[in-house]
């Protein structure tokens, strides 16, 4: 009897271990990435019910934890992690063999948005599965526009120039006392969005510094002007920014589609927001009414003991066309405003649907998708983050008057970058 039990138990354990497989995933933001991954896991479980996808919400310092794990040869790391597109090249440079080549694993990259594939490509290898787009727009509060005596309908869907917007912002500020745009001064996303709208970035294609470009100088001048006219509301940190937006501190902001979730998290915002194309910066060649900010992608660690399973999961849910996967992309768009970059999925019903949460039920996803087509292939380079910080620091000092001119500001940013990099 006892022996029978023991054998039974052993069999049960052996079978259990054999049958139950687990994939662990690290990402952040429960309303967005974690939500999307949970939906993906549900789709995968339809065909592979014995696989558990364990999703960990790493709110703070995810990159620091991954760095520590990579230094320890992969100890303590999950199978899959989410990386911001602008972060990943740093990891490619510092940890060359840390990720699984997914092109070799058979992912068809011709069906994924090319501007997302750029940063994850190294030589002939491609390492990631592109997730969401960072297509940007100008978010405006129609109630404040009306209060200022402006008619929102005459701006809806219009391509504006920044000079139009400054006049417009001055009117809104004078009538409602609301600054036009709230922004996070610690990373200054807004400045990069404008520079990006000209196709430029911190670095040139060969990796050399590109801050002395026309696009940068004009963008810094533009924001100094906005700042001096009292049209900016500055906060430090993500949570304070969301708080500022959802406590009516400004008449709008300039950022990407992934703000849908945060705006929708407050029911009182219903019917108030409209989103118009990113304004055009004049006098810079290549400028367009579209830009990109952020966006992330999934990567599999080479140290993972479940590599094959993790790759299969990403490939079969995120980069394969079936009825279920298309429905999955359609669901996360509606559920979280997560617009994937898997091209066959862009025809889903929610992509063209009107969204009653926005002013006049604007079909916001259709608009963002349309603007996304104009986004050029992005170049970040491994040293994007220190440069982003240095630029944000210098521009803030320019606003506060410790730096006097645009040229001084650029020189200060370059100097800080070089110090941090030890160059």
């Amino acid at each position: 009897m006892k022996k029978g039990l023991l054998i039974g138990l052993m069999l049960f354990l052996a079978f259990g271990v054999f049958a139950q497989q687990k994939i662990s995933v690290w990402c952040w933001d429960p309303n967005f990435n974690v939500y999307a991954m949970k939906q993906a896991a549900a789709v995968y479980n339809k065909t592979k019910p014995n696989v558990t996808v364990e999703i960990v919400d790493m709110a703070q310092d995810i990159e620091a934890k991954i760095t520590a794990g990579l230094q320890a040869g992969g100890a303590g790391l999950p199978d899959i992690a989410l990386f911001q597109d602008f972060r990943i090249e740093q990891f490619f440079q510092d940890y060359p063999n840390a990720f699984v080549d997914l092109k070799a694993a058979g992912v068809d990259y011709s069906k994924l948005a090319q501007y997302k594939v750029g940063p994850m490509t190294k030589g002939t290898k491609i390492y990631g599965i592109p997730f969401d787009t960072g297509s940007t727009g100008l978010w405006l509060r129609t109630d404040y526009l009306k209060a200022a005596g402006l008619n929102p309908d005459s701006y809806l869907g219009k391509n504006l120039k920044w000079s139009d917007l400054i006049k417009f912002g001055v009117t809104v500020k004078a009538k409602t006392n609301k600054p036009l745009l709230s922004y996070q001064s610690d990373n200054f996303d807004m400045l990069r969005i404008v520079v990006q709208s000209t196709g430029g970035q911190f670095f040139k294609a060969d990796g050399s510094l590109n801050l002395r470009s026309d696009a940068f100088k004009k963008s810094i001048t533009l924001f100094k002007d906005l700042n001096d006219k009292g049209l900016l509301y500055s906060v430090v940190g993500w949570s304070d920014w969301i708080n500022a937006i959802n406590s009516d501190q400004s008449a709008g902001f300039l950022n990407a589609i992934w703000m849908v979730g945060s705006v929708k998290s407050r029911p009182e915002n219903a019917g108030k927001y409209m989103i118009i194309p990113t304004p055009l910066i004049e006098g810079v060649s290549g400028a367009a009414n579209a830009s990109n900010n952020g966006g992330s992608s999934w990567y599999v660690f080479a140290s993972s003991p479940n590599k094959a399973l993790a790759v299969d999961f990403l490939k079969s849910v995120w980069a394969t066309t079936t009825e279920d996967t298309l429905a999955f992309y359609n669901t996360i768009l509606k559920g979280a405003g997560a617009m994937g970059t898997y091209i066959p999925s862009l025809k889903g019903s929610n992509y063209t649907a009107k969204d009653e949460f926005f002013y006049k039920s604007q079909a916001v996803y259709q608009d963002f998708a349309k603007w996304m087509e104009k986004v050029p292939v992005l170049k970040y380079t491994p040293n994007y983050v220190p440069m982003r910080d240095a630029v944000a620091h210098a521009v803030l000092n320019y606003f506060q008057g410790t730096l006097k001119t645009v040229d001084e500001t650029i020189a200060a940013a370059e100097a800080e970058y070089k110090q941090v990099m030890g160059q």
């Binding site: 703070q60 310092d61 990159e63 620091a64 760095t67 520590a68 990579l70 230094q71 740093q90 440079q93 510092d94 940890y95 060359p96 063999n97 001064s185 610690d186 500055s234 906060v235 430090v236 940190g237 949570s239 304070d240 708080n243 500022a244 406590s247 501190q249 983050v385 220190p386 910080d389 944000a392 620091h393 210098a394 803030l396 000092n397 506060q400 800080e416 110090q419 941090v420 990099m421 030890g422």
Partner: protein, 298 residues
């Protein structure tokens, strides 16, 4: 005699046996990292690459204005916040020691509580209170104490004040507990004698209490100084990565960012850590000399 020697040897061996586990752990997790980090000081260890550069890391440090400014911020916090906090802790301890017995327990708990509360929770709370449109600014605006909101979290000057306030809030109670213990061990007769001689409370405090508590003040000062040199949590979470524009960047935060956030540059981070340890050591030594006086020489 022989018997006793053997027994002593046995006791010795048993003693070593008892401390062996902690010694093994100490060697593994303290001694080994410290010794091996000495090796990395001379190397450029970035990500997976590792090359010898001699004193290159120190040359870089000598030219790194951000690191120098960060150490400067540590000094600033230390010279202003540590004395204020210790004085405050002493006052509170004396007050609690003399206050009505009934409230002593709850008061002591209330003052000690901040130091055992999770800093993440504290920082979230402080951020809500201190935002531009936060509680504190609103109260002060309503009371007409200020006309424009104070940038507690985004002004280069006020963020430093915020950090010092947060540190004081968090650690005063912790230090107070040591002083309280010290006070309770003092002989009441000295104070009674002083009372008879007509010494005021303030006089008693400065000429009896403070001198008698010097060893404890010394302990507090040394631990607070080294704690301030390692200041990390407040500037990382409360003022958001040492912001604005590195105005609250501290040495420890810069070391962390070099190693884990922007650079994966562990060699440089290790070298900076050595400099910070050295500085802390020098300060501890100076404090021991100044306050410890005779006690140290013996």
């Amino acid at each position: 005699m022989a018997q006793r020697g053997r027994h002593e040897r046995y006791l010795n061996r048993f003693g070593w046996f008892c401390v062996a586990p902690s010694m093994v752990l100490f060697c593994l997790f303290m001694l080994y990292p410290i010794v091996s980090s000495l090796y990395y000081v001379t190397r450029k260890w970035k990500g997976m690459t590792d090359t010898f550069i001699g004193l290159g890391n120190f040359v870089r440090m000598a030219n790194d204005k951000i690191f120098q400014a960060a150490v400067g911020h540590n000094f600033l916090f230390m010279f202003i916040q540590v004395p204020v906090m210790i004085f405050l802790a002493l006052l509170l301890a004396v007050f609690l020691n003399q206050s009505i017995r009934r409230f002593r327990g709850p008061l002591r708990l209330a003052i000690f509580l901040p130091s055992i509360t999770s800093l993440v929770v504290v920082s979230v709370l402080f951020r809500v209170l201190l935002q531009t449109n936060g509680f504190l600014n609103n109260v002060m605006l309503d009371a007409h104490l200020i006309t424009t909101p104070i940038g507690w979290l985004n002004d280069a000057f006020w963020t430093k004040v915020t950090i010092m306030l947060a540190m004081t809030w968090r650690w005063t109670g912790y230090n107070m507990v040591f002083f309280l213990v010290g006070l309770q061990s003092l002989d009441r007769q000295i104070f009674e004698a002083a009372e008879v001689d007509g010494a005021s409370k303030a006089r008693q405090f400065f000429t009896i209490t403070v001198p008698l508590l010097v060893p404890i003040i010394l302990f507090s000062a040394v631990t607070s100084t080294s704690g301030t040199m390692q200041l990390f949590d407040e500037p990382n979470i409360l003022t958001w990565q040492g912001g604005p524009s590195n105005a609250t960047m501290t040495a420890a935060l810069y070391i962390f960012r070099q190693a884990f956030v922007v650079n994966s540059d562990f060699g440089y981070a290790t070298s900076m850590s050595y400099v910070v340890v050295l500085i802390s050591g020098v300060f501890a030594f100076i404090q021991l000399r100044l306050l410890g006086g005779e006690r140290v020489k013996k």
